[in-house]
């Protein structure tokens, strides 16, 4: 359609073609106008944003001691840089080889920076919070669930009946239980399995619970990838004398991961949103800290402001994740997997 010449006839055709269409169009326009004026009016004049403006550090870092806030900030900064470096995809082979190790290092580094030790002031896990904790839960659980999911997916395809059986049982069991139940399990039951005196940090317990849950879904996504790879790929690899392990590692798995990538990034975004469930279990991640702020007598009744602000932050983080994911998809796919004859 040539926009300049045909815009008016086009609008008339889609919106005002008969009297009923015209009525509906006018009604919708009116509704949109009223809603947006009310919203904008509230945003600019009705709302009292003090509850947001005065609490930026809380939203970002939770109750982390003020003089130690550089630690979570540093971790977030490193995480963002690492993400960018990974997405840009460095040309040098040595750096590309280093990347996976660095990603594995993100978890212990985060734990050390947050909890202290090694010369840093110890900070108990109940002081971890805000966006930092949300990102920490998401990142650590994703990074742990990804390899576990791959192992489970391979296990489910295994020729060894016992491995196949246990992988299937695990995947089916975890998919059959609601996430919140697993999170309760993580908070209340995991401590019972450890001897008295050994106490595992509540955040780590949450990470473990999320990992157990998400890995089952990751495994299923990757299995979908496995199944869409034609048998002829495996035959070609066999004919070259590759071993079973090598076939999986170099031929089947890379292709399965490329195919599963959209589903996997979806899992990551879903996981980020699901971390808000931890607010119910007493962690002060982004949602939890907001509820604490609302409990402050100074800001009583400022629900609208806080929840609109929260929605904005979640939207922003998720949108950034989705954009990064689609960038990654374009980068890896580049029509590689469409074979023409």
């Amino acid at each position: 359609m040539n926009k300049k010449h045909n815009l008016f006839p086009y609008i008339r055709r889609i919106a005002f073609s008969n009297s009923l269409d015209t009525c509906i169009t006018l009604f919708i326009l009116l509704a949109v106008f009223l809603l947006s004026t009310i919203t904008i009016k509230w945003l600019l004049f009705g709302a009292d944003w003090a509850v947001v403006i005065q609490n930026y550090p809380l939203y970002a870092f939770g109750l982390f001691p003020a003089d130690q806030r550089w630690r979570p900030a540093l971790w977030l900064l490193l995480l963002i840089s690492l993400t960018i470096i990974t997405l840009v995809g460095p040309r040098w082979r040595w750096l590309r080889k280093l990347l996976p190790i660095t990603w594995i290092g993100v978890i212990p580094l985060g734990i050390v920076l947050l909890s202290g030790g090694l010369g840093l002031l110890p900070v108990a896990s109940r002081y971890w919070g805000g966006v930092t904790l949300t990102i920490f839960l998401t990142t650590c659980s994703s990074l742990l669930a990804f390899p576990l999911g791959i192992i489970l997916a391979i296990g489910r395809q295994s020729d060894l009946p016992l491995i196949k059986f246990f992988s299937s049982i695990y995947i089916e069991a975890l998919r059959a239980v609601p996430l919140i139940a697993i999170l309760f399990f993580g908070q209340l039951l995991i401590p019972l399995f450890f001897p008295i005196g050994v106490e595992i940090n509540r955040v780590i317990r949450a990470v473990l619970a999320f990992t157990l849950f998400v890995s089952a879904y990751v495994a299923e996504d990757i299995r979908g990838g496995f199944q869409s790879i034609p048998k002829s790929q495996e035959e070609a690899a066999k004919a070259l004398g590759l071993s079973k392990l090598q076939i999986t590692q170099f031929v089947i798995l890379p292709q399965a991961l490329i195919i599963a990538l959209p589903a996997l990034t979806n899992q990551a975004i879903g996981l980020l949103q699901n971390t808000s469930l931890m607010a119910i279990l007493g962690l002060v991640e982004l949602l939890g800290i907001s509820r604490s702020i609302l409990a402050n007598p100074l800001f009583i009744g400022r629900y609208m402001e806080v929840y609109v602000w929260l929605a904005g932050i979640y939207w922003l983080i998720c949108t950034v994740m989705a954009l990064l994911a689609s960038h990654l998809e374009q980068k890896v796919t580049i029509e590689k997997l469409t074979i023409k004859n």
């Binding site: 002829s232 790929q233 035959e235 070609a236 690899a237 066999k238 004919a239 070259l240 004398g241 590759l242 071993s243 090598q246 170099f250 031929v251 890379p254 292709q255 490329i258 580049i334 029509e335 590689k336 997997l337 469409t338 074979i339 023409k340 004859n341």
Partner: protein, 247 residues
């Protein structure tokens, strides 16, 4: 001359009692080019796929490049055979996520533990031999069918095989691309590569084959030189087949 393939009374039965291979006894000697022909469903693909262990068989004897393979399909022997026997498929079966160069060097690096530089040099020389050296950094989906099949041949050659198997290498190609692939196979024959080629290309068979093996319903009907087979086939069944394909 030593034999590269030897089979004795090879039998493979499908579930309904149908015999895909019915007491196949045959031999391919070193530097020989054997062309296998036959109507579809005659078992020629099954036969060629037993030669590198992609298909199992129920009874009989099979010896490939001096390694015996029995109906128990000993995993170690099968892998040893695959390291020394190359195969080219009808649908090319290149790895779409790897570049052309990576497709060719994967097995030399991972199976034969060659170092990368050495493997890449060899791969480049194979690509230039196949006339597609400029495509080394591209991905399979960016190449034409004929080019992909030549990459597949280069990939099979990368392990310096003693025997090459071709399973209808030109059947999936556009007609104008068939020639370039046949030329590549022909030049290998001239260099003395031992090959088994399943094909319907009569002109190619006449020119390149040392022997033509004709199969029908899982049986070897006749094995003749191309001169005899295409002008004066011994069996009624062979003559009928040649008639049908217009020779």
């Amino acid at each position: 001359m030593t034999s590269v393939i030897r089979t004795r009374k090879l039998v493979k039965t499908f579930s309904k009692g149908l015999r895909a291979l019915d007491e196949i006894s045959m031999e391919v000697k070193k530097k020989e080019v054997l062309v296998v022909m036959g109507p579809s469903g005659s078992g020629k693909s099954t036969l060629i796929r037993t030669f590198n262990g992609l298909e199992t068989f129920d009874s009989g004897e099979l010896e490939i490049v001096g390694i015996p393979l029995h109906s128990d399909h000993n995993e170690r022997n099968v892998r040893e055979i695959r390291k020394r026997v190359g195969m080219v498929f009808q649908q090319f079966n290149l790895f779409p996520h790897l570049s052309i160069l990576e497709n060719i060097t994967l097995a030399p690096i991972k199976v034969q533990k060659q170092n990368r530089i050495e493997a890449e040099e060899h791969a480049m020389s194979l690509l230039s031999q196949m006339g597609i050296i400029t495509q080394a950094r591209k991905y399979p989906s960016q190449l034409s069918g004929g080019e992909q099949q030549r990459v597949a041949i280069a990939r099979a050659l990368a392990l310096k095989p003693e025997l090459l198997l071709f399973d209808e290498p030109t059947s999936a190609l556009d007609p104008e691309r068939v020639g370039e692939v046949l030329d590549a196979i022909r030049s290998l024959a001239e260099k003395g590569m031992t090959m088994v080629v399943v094909t319907h290309e009569v002109g190619f068979a006449k020119e390149v084959a040392d022997k033509v093996l004709f199969m029908d319903s899982g049986k070897v009907i006749e094995t003749s030189t191309p001169e005899v087979f295409f002008t004066n086939a011994k069996h009624e069944r062979s003559r009928k087949f040649l008639n049908q394909i217009g020779e």
